[in-house]
């Protein structure tokens, strides 16, 4: 049974909403830097949390192409398939 983009996206949203500083109205289309007001360090820290939840490593060089939460979810699904 493989994990879907929707599943991953939901897990990311859940993780983000556990942080009280994150706006409540985020969705899969939210842009991580602009809509969440994350700086580069905050993005790396939050990706680390997701990595541990999903047992996957997202290389930092891949983050360059990722803008939205769904982009991140898609990248993680690909990484999990490669593993």
């Amino acid at each position: 049974m493989s994990i879907t983009v929707q599943d991953v996206s939901n897990i990311i949203l859940e993780t983000l909403l556990a942080n009280p500083k994150v706006p409540r109205d985020i969705s899969g289309e939210s842009k991580i830097i602009e809509d969440l007001a994350f700086d580069s360090l905050a993005v790396m820290n939050f990706v680390m949390e997701i990595e541990d939840k999903l047992d996957v490593s997202v290389p930092l060089d891949r983050l360059a192409d990722i803008r939205t939460i769904d982009d991140l979810a898609r990248a993680i699904v690909v990484l999990k398939q490669e593993a």
Partner: protein, 400 residues
């Protein structure tokens, strides 16, 4: 489109900072150093506790004399890169001295520590390789990783088990795995549990590079850093570091036993495409390296000072980092408080660093002091008094 539009968020942050801080912390000028531990700032004699001049050697007589003499004899610049037209016998002498100091086969000297880490990280890690970086590594290491075609994986700070998990997660790969860590981390002065890391490195068949920028000359019986102190030098593949802290000058190096080091001189771009260090800087560095070798009591003085500052601050109720090293930071919660405290400390006669997120771990602002062998107990006690007075004057509470 205005090419500067992308800097608007930065402009806003700077304006916010200026609104809450009387002075711009990025603009402090030491009008004149008076000694390794005092200088004139804003016209006043001020205690210097923010210089990274750990052994006070920026002002050593030996280095000044060597620099002056060498400038007279050889001039003030090499006007060229190491491989094209800028290697003097002095550069090779310093490389030999450093290799001997570290008991290593070879040494490469760079024009700054930034370029040493940038160059080594970006060149060693190729397309099929994977870099594993501690979450709190210095900007030069992260910049090197961006210059490298390798994949980059970040692991939790000082957590060898987390590194092991991430190394295992990637499994067998066609290339090599290079782990990059630091001996002492520059913001909190916390120390790596290096034995745990060398165990993981060996078990998982990875290479290990350590940046001893803040530990060289400070830790280890001979001053060779945390690798020496933890007795694991044989398991460390590459040691990089800087001349700009305990050695008191400017420049950087990498030492290693790997016989391929000389090849790296021909493919490490931050080594090849920049001018080499001027002869007077090399001569001063050689002189200060000799002082470090011959005066172990400098390290003892430094650690005595650091212990005194660290324990006095804790006793006074300040929150500090987890370990005692030449960096002693007070951890604060709000940038406004930190800025107010830092300004007041400067007005009361001591210069320390105001370190701000995102350059600090966990988004905490810090008052960062660097301790020198050249400080005396009176100066250390004075700094503690100034911190306590500044807390009173700014009406902050130290409730943990």
């Amino acid at each position: 489109m205005n090419i500067f539009a992308k800097f608007d968020p930065l402009r806003k942050s700077l304006e916010q900072l200026k609104a809450i801080s009387k002075r711009n912390p990025f603009d402090v000028v030491v009008e004149r150093p008076l000694s390794a531990t005092t200088g004139i700032i804003e016209g006043r004699e001020t205690l210097l506790f923010g210089t990274n001049n750990y052994l006070g050697l920026s002002q050593s007589k030996e280095a000044r004399d060597a620099a002056a003499h060498t400038a007279q004899q050889l001039g003030v610049g090499t006007t060229g890169s190491r491989i094209a037209n800028g290697s003097f016998a002095l550069h090779q002498n310093l490389e030999k001295d450093l290799a001997r100091f570290f008991n290593r086969r070879s040494c490469m000297v760079f024009s700054t520590g930034y370029q040493a880490t940038l160059g080594m990280v970006s060149t060693l890690a190729g397309k099929d390789d994977i870099l594993f970086l501690d979450a709190d590594c210095h900007a030069s290491i992260y910049d090197g990783s961006r210059m490298s075609p390798a994949q980059v994986i970040r692991f939790r700070h000082n957590d060898a088990e987390d590194l092991r998990k991430r190394l295992r997660r990637v499994g067998n790969i066609p290339g090599a795995k290079l782990v990059v860590v630091e001996g002492v981390y520059s913001m909190l002065g916390d120390i790596i549990p290096l034995k745990d890391f060398t165990e993981v490195k060996k078990e998982e068949n990875a290479y290990l590079m350590i940046d001893e920028a803040h530990s060289f000359g400070v830790f280890g019986e001979h001053g060779r850093g945390i690798s020496e102190q933890e007795n694991v030098e044989a398991d460390v593949d590459f040691i990089v570091g800087t001349f700009s802290k305990s050695l008191g000058t400017v420049g950087g190096y990498c030492v290693s036993d790997h016989p391929e080091m000389d090849l790296l001189r021909l493919c490490t771009r931050p080594y090849m495409f920049t001018a080499s260090l001027p002869p007077e800087v090399i001569a001063a560095t050689i002189a200060n390296l000799k002082l470090i070798t011959e005066h172990p009591e400098l390290r003892q003085n430094l650690m005595n000072n650091a212990k005194r500052l660290y324990t006095s601050l804790q006793k006074a109720g300040f929150r500090t980092g987890p370990h005692i090293s030449s960096v002693v930071s007070v951890i604060l919660d709000e940038v406004g408080h930190a800025a107010a405290l830092w300004n007041r400390v400067l007005e009361l006669g001591a210069y320390v660093n105001l370190s701000l997120p995102p350059a600090t771990p966990d988004e905490h602002p810090l008052l960062r002091a660097s301790i020198a062998a050249a400080h005396n107990f009176e100066q250390v006690d004075q700094l503690v008094e100034i911190y306590i007075q500044a807390v009173k004057d700014t009406g902050l509470s130290l409730a943990k």
